[in-house]
């Protein structure tokens, strides 16, 4: 029931906003068309401003991933995580998750298809994929759009949250399904 309701809201939220905002504004005496154009002009500038930031970050991540350096770092920390009792199958996903959204989804899909969606690994991978966003990407896009180069502690906070979410996923999936 709740799931149905949320799905319903998700589906109608955007059409509602696109209808409601201009109609309400028109009633309040706003020149809707002219004002729309005025705001829309900024969109191009912001999107284009992102290019150098995105290229810098995606190139570094691409090289790290495709060269095999990422797979090597997974192997390097595997003894530690195995000692802690963390299932090794999801380790590559944990490393990929903050770096590349598309890459992480690829690993998740592969895990789900290999182990089955209703297996422990399948459920764990699903939870890990859905419960956090791609930290490096979000920081690059959001800070890039306003020309921020010094992130202060934002990256630490994002990565700490990723590790916590990963551990929380293992805890809750074990608790609920095992």
């Amino acid at each position: 029931m709740i799931e149905f309701l949320i799905g319903y809201v998700s589906k109608w939220a955007i059409p509602f906003l696109i209808f409601f905002i201009p109609v309400f504004a028109y009633i309040r005496g706003v020149n809707v068309y002219e004002v729309f154009i005025e705001g829309a002009e900024e969109g191009f500038k912001i999107a284009i401003k992102l290019i150098p930031y995105l290229v810098a970050m995606l190139v570094a991540i691409g090289i790290f991933r495709n060269s095999g350096a990422m797979a090597m770092s997974v192997e390097a920390i595997r003894p530690i995580t195995e000692f802690l009792g963390i299932p090794g199958e999801v380790l590559p996903l944990a490393i990929m998750r903050p770096l590349s959204g598309g890459g992480a989804l690829g690993i998740t899909t592969e895990l789900i298809n290999t182990y089955g969606p209703d297996s422990f690994i399948g459920r764990l991978a699903s939870t890990m994929q859905g419960s956090t966003d791609t930290t490096f990407f979000v920081l690059t896009v959001y800070f890039g759009s306003v020309g921020i180069r010094r992130y202060r502690h934002a990256l630490w906070v994002g990565l700490l949250a990723d590790v916590t979410t990963f551990l929380a996923s293992i805890y809750i999936v074990t608790r609920i399904f095992a």
């Binding site: 309040r28 859905g130 010094r150």
Partner: protein, 197 residues
């Protein structure tokens, strides 16, 4: 920090590719990733143009101010550095709601609009403000009610109960977000203390 990580990713990649005797992997992935960055920006142009147009209409009608007022108690606590009823609050609320509903296409334009407004309060500095770091702490931990993409993957793989991971996902997100907000405050507190010494 970001300089070091950026360099580390590249250096580690080049070393491993050299050991494996595959220098062409470096060239290929660099060019491919550079194109991907440009492609993402271009894909965003339409979305940004459209949503910023709609947002400006909403702003002129006073809707964004109304939103900002509604969530005042919540934002006063999370973003003490933003003046009361500032339009940034309206954009922040729209961004978080769109994330919550899993509307990624709308969440990014709302979020970037919020960043523009936060930057206006930041005196054009190239260093992140307190409010920005808190806002991105919320965004990187990404509270979503329905992780639609992953449910889709589970359906395609023939899951008997594709939505059974909604509860575990919300729990994990909630823990991650709580830690993000707490650690943000702690980092801020300790960096202030170091500076004032």
């Amino acid at each position: 920090m970001i300089n070091f990580i950026w360099l580390l990713l590249i250096v580690a990649g080049v070393i491993v590719a050299t050991i494996n005797g595959q220098p062409e992997v470096i060239t290929d992935s660099a060019l491919q990733a550079a194109n991907l960055g440009v492609k993402y920006s271009f894909d965003l142009i339409g979305l940004m143009t459209f949503w910023l147009g709609i947002m400006r209409v909403g702003e002129k009608a006073g809707l964004v101010d109304v939103l900002a007022k509604i969530i005042k108690p919540f934002t006063k606590f999370l973003f003490p550095s933003i003046p009361e009823n500032h339009p940034a609050m309206g954009s922040i609320l729209l961004n978080l709601s769109a994330n919550l509903l899993g509307l990624g296409n709308a969440a990014t334009p709302f979020g970037l609009k919020a960043m523009q407004e936060l930057q206006a309060l930041n005196n054009g500095s190239d260093e992140a403000s307190d409010a920005m770091v808190t806002f991105l702490a919320l965004n990187t931990s990404c509270m979503t009610l329905v992780p639609a993409t992953i449910i889709g993957v589970r359906v395609a793989a023939g899951s008997l109960n594709p939505t059974e991971i909604v509860g575990t996902t919300m729990f994990a997100t909630f823990i991650g977000m709580t830690l993000a907000l707490t650690s943000d405050r702690l980092f801020r507190f300790f960096s202030r203390r170091d500076k004032s010494k």
